[in-house]
Symmetry: C2
Subunit: 156 residues, 2 copies
DNA sequence: GTTTTAGTACTCGGATATGGATTGTCCGAGTCCAAGAGG
DNA sequence: CCTCTTGGACTCGGACAATCCATATCCGAGTACTAAAAC
């Protein structure tokens, strides 16, 4: 059970785009150079965020990606769901209803294992849904100042 | 981010073994038939539980698997950790410290994204650590009665 | 000087390979039981 | 009848393939700017 690394990339990109929201769209080339990431694959992940309505993409020579909503309205849960899919980590296959063990009538209550897993995952989701990109921007050091300064130095 | 199906198998097997703890070791063949699972691969997963000290395995013709501890002392977290590895779902690669964005001094505070992820995962783990195999046995219907009855009918 | 227009360089978007982890399969070492021979 | 021996069948354990998904890569469609040419 491991999360794709694209999640870390996406979150960092969202925070950075939050700081650079007045600079217009940021091209994938600059974002990749910003974090020293594989440009093509990062693009693919940001496309997923665009499809989910978290980012907007503008084509053309001055194009790039930008936040589609104010940072306060983007939760970490949104980003994770967009990048990892809406599938729950634990998928209950109801194996208890198969084989010899299931003989002798159906099961009435829902599977306790599934319920416990769901509870745990809900707690996880609740935590992530409580943190917005704006929260991440606030807690970060150094602040957006340096980000904007470094970005202004980027040429090409 | 998806959990291996072995987790569901392992948990159900632990619950069943809890009910059958007076019947002696249960062979992998019976367990596989019980849930209609691929025998060989289930064995491989239960071996992981054995290595983690959750199950005991006895070789020989009357051998099989059994719980190594009372069900009250085995948490769902134990089983998940044994089967999925101790690795956290979110692995922070500290990409903020690489590339152009990192120029101009080091970062003082730990990464806020990593901290938030860790908090969420902690909440998840806490939920799972609070549920034991005994809890699962208690909440299940039908109870261990039918399990023992069906198991007694198993021959070969 | 102003306007038009063709060119060009850069962007995102989706279709296409690759690698490593999860899943599945196989054979060998060990153990216990059962049956048979001997006392 | 009891004991010892020998054989066999069944168990777990770990090494060996196959399949699937995350990762990485590539080429095509579209846009805006540039610059030159015509007016």
């Amino acid at each position: 059970m491991q999360m794709g690394e694209g999640v870390e990339w996406g979150l960092h990109c969202c925070v950075t785009l939050g700081w650079l929201k007045d600079e217009g769209p940021v091209s994938i080339r600059k974002l990749a150079a910003w974090f020293d990431l594989p440009q093509e694959y990062l693009k693919k992940r940001l496309q997923a965020l665009t499809k989910a309505g978290i980012l907007t993409s503008t084509p053309g020579v001055r194009g790039g990606f930008a936040l589609a909503r104010p940072p306060e309205q983007i939760t970490m849960m949104d980003v994770v769901t967009a990048l990892e899919g809406p599938v729950e980590a634990f998928r209950c296959a109801e194996i208890r209803q198969r084989g010899v063990g299931a003989e002798g009538g159906q099961f009435r209550r829902p599977c306790g294992i599934s319920m416990a897993m769901r509870r745990a995952e809900l707690a996880w989701r609740r935590e992530l849904a409580g943190q917005t990109i704006a929260d991440l921007m606030e807690g970060a050091t150094p602040s957006g100042e340096r980000t904007r300064r470094n970005y202004a130095r980027m040429r090409g």
